[in-house]
Each structure stands twice: as C-alpha cells, then as structure tokens.
Amino acid sequence: MRKLALSDDILLKVDKPARYIGNEVNSVKKNPADVDIRFCMCFPDVYEIGMSHLGIQILYDMFNKRPDVYCERVYSPWPDLSVIMKEKKIPLFALETQDPIRDFDFLGITIQYEMCYTNIIQVLDLSGIPLLATERTEEDPLVIGGGPCTYNPEPIADFFDLFYIGEGEVVYDDLFDLYKECKKNGLSRHEILVKMAALPGIYVPQLYDVTYNEDGTIASFTPNVEGIPSRIEKAIVMDTSKIGYPAHPVVPFIKATQDRVVLEIQRGCIRGCRFCQAGMLYRPTRPRDVNELKAMADEMLKSTGYDEISLSSLSSSDYPDLKELIEFLIENYEKKGVNISLPSLRIDAFSLDIMSKVQDIRKSSLTFAPEAGSQRMRNVINKGLTEENILEGAGMAFEGGWQKVKLYFMLGLPTETEEDIKGIPELAEKIARRYYEIPKDQRNGKCNITISTSFFVPKPFTPFQWVPMCTREQFLERAKLVNDTVKEQLNKKSMKYNWHHADVTILEGILARGDRKIAKALLRAYELGCVFDAWDEYFDVEKWNRAFRDTGIDEDFYTVRPREKDEIFPWDFLDCGVSREFLYREYERAQQETVTPNCRMACSGCGALKYKGGVCVENKN
C-alpha cells in the first residue's frame, strides 16, 4: 500500500484531506524506476481550482503516454496545511507517488493569472527549491512555466529556468528527448538550458540581458550566449486533429470548480475585441472537426462517469458546427441523465431554443457581456454586440419565460466618459422596460437583472497595451456613478449591482505589464506573508504596498504612465503571431471609434495568416 506524505494526524486535522492524497480515478500509476524523466505539473492554486483546468489534463495525458516520462501533479496547499508543512519541515510532494518535488527532473507550473505569482514562490519555497533560478544546483528540478501569463514572463522571470511559450502539444516531445540526451552526455544544468533555449517557443530568462533607460523603460533586450534566437515565437498547433484532449481525464473525489467533462471545441477567437488578450494570443481561430468532437465526448463521458459535459472555447457561437454538435449531445446523452451545460452563447432564437431544452428556464439566467454601456464605447473596444441585439435577445427570452438576466461590463476603458458609464445602468433599465412590456398576466412576477462590472486592466499583446489604466480613485468614482444611477432609475428594484475591488485590479495591472524589476517586490510580498492573492480573504493590500515601498518600485510607472508608440515593452521579444503594427493600427482605430470586422468577415492583416491555417484559410482551398 502506498505511503502518504502526510500523517493521519495532519490529514484528519486539515480541511478537505482529499486534496493531498491523490489516487483519483484515471490518475496515472507508474513505477518511477521505469522512467527516465519525472515531471511534476503544478497549478499554483488550491486543488479544486487546479483540477478544473483543461490544459493540465491535456499535458498530463500527453506526457504519460510516453513510456519514458512519469508526469504527476501538485497544487498549492491550502493555508491550513502550508503552516503545518513549514513548521514540521515537510517538503511539498506530488500527489501520485507522494514523493518530494525536489527529486523530480522538471517542475512545470501553469500560470493562468497574475494573482497566483506569490503562490508560485510558495510552491518553490515549500519544495525546498531555491527561489531564484540562478541559485539552483544540479540537484534541483528544472522549473518551467507555461500558460497565458508567460506572454509577459518578465515579472516572474527570475524564478523560472525556462518558459514554454505557446501550445504544449508542439515542443514538449523534443524538449524531453533533448533532456534525455543531455543527461546521457552528462551536460551541466547551464549547458542543458542553453541547448533548450535553441528550441522553438523556449525562453530561458537568464540567457537574456535587459538594459534600461534613465526613465526606467527598456533600452535593450539581448541574448548573452550564441546560438539562441533574439525573438521567440509561440508554438502553435495548426493541424487541429493534433490538438490534444485527455481521453481519460482525472476525476477528483471532491467537487472541483469545474466538475464535468470539458470539450474544447475550438482554439482562438475571430472577434478581435480590443481589450481581450486571449483573442489576440491564440490566433488564428481553429475549429475542431465536429465528428472528432462527438467521438471525444463519448470517450470522456465513458471514461469518467461524469453526468455533465460542457463546451469550451472563447466564443462558442462562432463554432461553425455548433448546432450539429449540441443536437448530437442532447439526442445521445440527455436521456441517460447527462446534463449539457452550455457556455455563454450569443442570445438568439437558436440558443434560446437549445437552452429551453437543457435548462430549467425559471431557474436559469441569460448572460450578456456587452462589456461597455454605450454604443460609442463598444465601438472603441470592438465589441460587435449592439443595443438592438441585446434588447431583441432579451425580448425573445422574456417572451419565452426567462426572467433573470446577467450583464457583464468593464469600467475604466480607454476614452470612457460619464455618458459611457451611465450607459451601463441605462442599458439595464431598457432591458427591464422590455420585460414589463409583457402583459402582467403573461409574465412571472418581477424580472431580475444583475449588473456586474470589473475594472479594466490593459494587457500585453492587445491594442490597449499602450494605454494608462485608471487610478484606484478613478475606478471607485466610476463604480459609484453606476451605483447612483441605478438607484435613480424607475426599475431599480429589479436590479442588483456588483463591482470588484479596485486594489486587486491595480496589482493585476502592475504585474500584467511589469518588467524584471518587479521580481524583488514579489519576493518581498511573499516574505511579508502574501499568498493566495486571488482570494479576497487572503489578499492584503497593505502588505503589497509595503512590498513595493520596501523595494523602491513606483507602482504608477506600470499602471498610469502613458507609453510611447515605439517604447520597448518587456514582452516585445515574444512573437505571438500578431504584429505590433496591427496592434497599434487597432489602437488608432479604437481612438477613432471604428469597428474592425471579425476574421470571418474580412482579414485585417493581423499577421496570423503566416500560420496558413484555421479561419485564415477557410473557404479558400
């Protein structure tokens, strides 16, 4: 019987011991002695969040298909356990074998959001791996990062030996083969890293030097060894039949945030919303073959025993064979008690018809994401949704029996005026009025409109990467204006308004467009006790302020400073397929309030055409 890393005493004391014992359905068992490479995959947040992530499931499945690799998993221990581990000096361990992570060849960390950066440091710390890459020895695992935040890896560059930029399906096989060969030939850690840095999509931070101008902006970014590229291009899968999927996903014992089969129907998005980083990073849009998807759905439902399946993509309504796929799922699985959970679809006759088949209309709500309140503002951000679309969709839904509506907006968008802000509650009011147009005897009491706003954070590789973000006070003024306007409206009793905390947004803004200088503030914040910053109950703005103060970081430099057209950004050495010229053109069109057509309507020359696939070549044999 497998021995656990934690004693019964500890496991019975902490919340949800199932987070730490492994042994889940479909988790992979191998004898570590039979493999050449031990890889530990980490999602630096709590188990229930990490287990919901499709990317890890794909890589776990893919790596373990190799007989010479054993891939295991680890997540951030919840604070009740991390305190005990520190006190009793228990090293962080992988779930499968319960072996210390320090004994592995690789520690892979997926970096999905900025607010997990201190958790990354904690994972290294609890593992007993030196926090800075330059201080690691031949005994330590190679720490490799992947995921969306690696499109600006600089704030966390010091903590990683290497980053994998792009989609995991492409280069990992070569990386493992190279590692084996290097080990066989007795190469040193440094030599191995230099060789890896020559692979496409691989970035080894310590092999690049950054110099700064007097004003703190970047003067140069150059390799400090021969034979590695000065610009690193993302790895991308162009043959959609090669996009990985976990045929046997690991099924947690405890309820995960996403506790169902997830079917990835396409990568990328045709829409080109100017605030959206994912919409730029994953170009071109690559829909998967619908027949392959049907077979995958069947296989995953059978291998897991889940009674729910959901579709995943950035914009499911744009998937060409959506109708066929959903009808297949309903026809084949609904009778068997399988729930079809729909992603947020564009509200129209088709989606309402489907929703009425798979959901309880009275309980379910409609979701609209207009993102901005006025048409002018929506043109600035290139969000194609119009007021007519929304009112027509809501009208149809209300007639069909729905009465709950959720609306998502952003505040603090570039060029935003008071009128744009007031447009948010005004749009909600129009929707409410549309509901009350239905005769009283035909409607079901009050309607229920929830308005949620988040604060806008400019992200790298978007047309808004140049813009200053709002200050904390400006954000809160805007939220207050929405709140006050809601209260003045006729149908205020049918509305509820939620807004986010501004402090977290400011931090996210600093980290999103930060440079290497930020690393020391991250370290300081961790020393001061910051961890689980994505969790309201643990986020402590005072500690963060102190960390920036102690390390001489000027927060405003990263957030509210306007950036010149040709400033060298920390992430400029990466090539995500979309050109900087395109992004700047889009930035200018935003200022002119001009909408850019989506990829299916017309090509706007973003640069992703060079990959010669997906939507770029649709209907053009």
Binding site: M1, R2, L4, D8, D9, L11, L12, P17, A18, I21, G22, N23, E24, V25, V251, F253, I254, K255, L301, K302, S303, T304, G305, Y306, D307, G337, D360
Partner: protein, 247 residues
C-alpha cells in the same frame, strides 16, 4: 429491481467523506455500465442509498449501498465490472438482489462490529491477559454512564445495553495494512435512533482504567453491519440473493 452492494474502504480512501463516496459511486456505476435507475424530475439522480455513513478516517470491510436498476448482469459479472473501475482501496465484495418489498438498509441497521487498534505502541496492550481482565471488570459494572455530546446538547447515556461484545482480538486487514494486529473488538448498537461510536466505549474504558485516551492514536475499522430479524442479528448482505444470470 433492488440491489444491495457490499464494499470495503481502505488505505487513503478513508479520508474521503461519505458525500464524496456517494459521488464516487455515481460515476463508478456509469463507468461500469450498471443499468441504474434514475429518479423522476427535472434533475434526475441515481436511486442510491447507504446503510450507515462512515466517518472520515475509518476503514471498513462492511459498507452497504442499495441501488435500483432496470436490468442487471449476474452477481459475478457485476462485481467484476465494478471492480474493474474501482480505485485502490475500494473493493466490491457482494452484489445481491433484494426482495422487492425489502426496507431501505438505512432503516434496518441495528448493530455494527468494529476493530480499534493503536497506530503506535500502546501500554494497555503489553499484557493481553491483564487487558482482558480489565475489560471483563469494565463490563461487569451495573451501568456504564457516559456523557454524549452532540452539537446542540449533552446527555447522559448508559452504554451497557448497547455493548454487545467488547474484547481483545487480532485484526487482519484485507489489504495488508496490518497482520495479526492486537485490537479491541466491539459490537455496538448502530442506527438512526441510537448510534454508539466505538471510540465512546473505549474512551469510557480508559477512564475506568484511569488511563489517558487519545482518539487519534487509534485506527477504527468497521467489520460488518447487521440488521435485526426475528430476534437475530444478520449481516445486511445476507438479506439478498446472488444473481446467477443476467435479468
């Protein structure tokens, strides 16, 4: 058709709580291709109920779950199909058809057997004869009064009528966790009306001996669960019949 399934729970699975074990079996039934019946309504769920929820940290060879199926394979085939999709530490031991008019297992549970063994050295077990004598004296008391604490109240209970057996025995687990392990064997009243936890008895015994009782120093293991039928305690599993061929 009603089916009663008996299973064991060992190793790290003892950390998975009752509700999660239910969710685990809902998925396992699908993976094993059990033709389980669903309830009516907008959110149909599998018709499934458990005899006596097991606390976190306790291992067992005597867990019972009742399900309703539309059709079934033989007992042997069903056990194999389920065991093929089990994780380490979970094993299906019985799969039996119940008479249509049988009551829910939950409502007939009356008694359970437990082993309780020290995880490390325990002075009490140095001399088995001495220990057995102490237990005999403990059991010879006219009443064994303890205070039972619930979330809401405290009340005094006499344990004596609820202890059907209490002695020293050797425990051998199915899954090699331990062999010939000296343990307390207890047979105590179980069910929805009166439910006596074995550690309550052993704790009272340690008080009686003026010894310190540390709950976390023991591993509790449930061996079997019984119903009372015609004044006789019979294992829940014996209330059903093996299925010879698919029906």
């Amino acid at each position: 058709m009603k089916i009663r399934i008996k299973f064991s729970k060992h190793g790290c699975m003892k950390f998975i709580g009752h509700l999660d074990i239910m969710r685990y079996f809902q998925k396992a039934n699908i993976r094993a291709g059990i033709d389980i019946a669903y309830s009516e309504g907008f959110n149909p769920h599998q018709v499934m109920s458990f005899a006596a929820p097991l606390g976190v940290g306790i291992t067992s060879d005597g867990e019972y779950m009742d399900i309703r199926v539309n059709s079934t394979r033989s007992t042997a085939d069903s056990i194999k199909a389920l065991n093929d999709v089990m994780v380490d530490g979970m094993e299906i031991l019985e799969y039996k058809k119940l008479p249509d008019d049988s009551k829910k297992s939950m409502s007939v549970v009356a008694l359970a057997d437990y082993y309780m063994y020290p995880k490390d050295e325990d002075e009490m077990f140095t001399d088995i004869t001495v220990l057995s004598n102490k237990i005999a004296k403990f059991m010879a008391q006219p009443t064994i009064l303890v205070t039972k604490k619930t979330k809401k109240s405290e009340k005094e209970v006499d344990l004596k009528p609820h202890i059907h057996a209490f002695n020293v025995d050797f425990y051998n687990s199915r899954q090699e966790e331990c062999l010939n392990q000296c343990a307390y064997f207890l047979s105590v009243t179980t069910g929805s009306e009166v439910n006596i936890r074995p550690e309550l008895v052993v704790s009272a015994f340690y008080d009686f001996c003026n010894a310190e009782f540390k709950e976390e120093a023991f591993q509790i293991h449930r061996q079997e669960v019984y119903a009372l039928e015609n004044d006789k305690y019979i294992p829940l599993g014996s209330m059903g019949e093996n299925i010879e061929a698919a029906e």
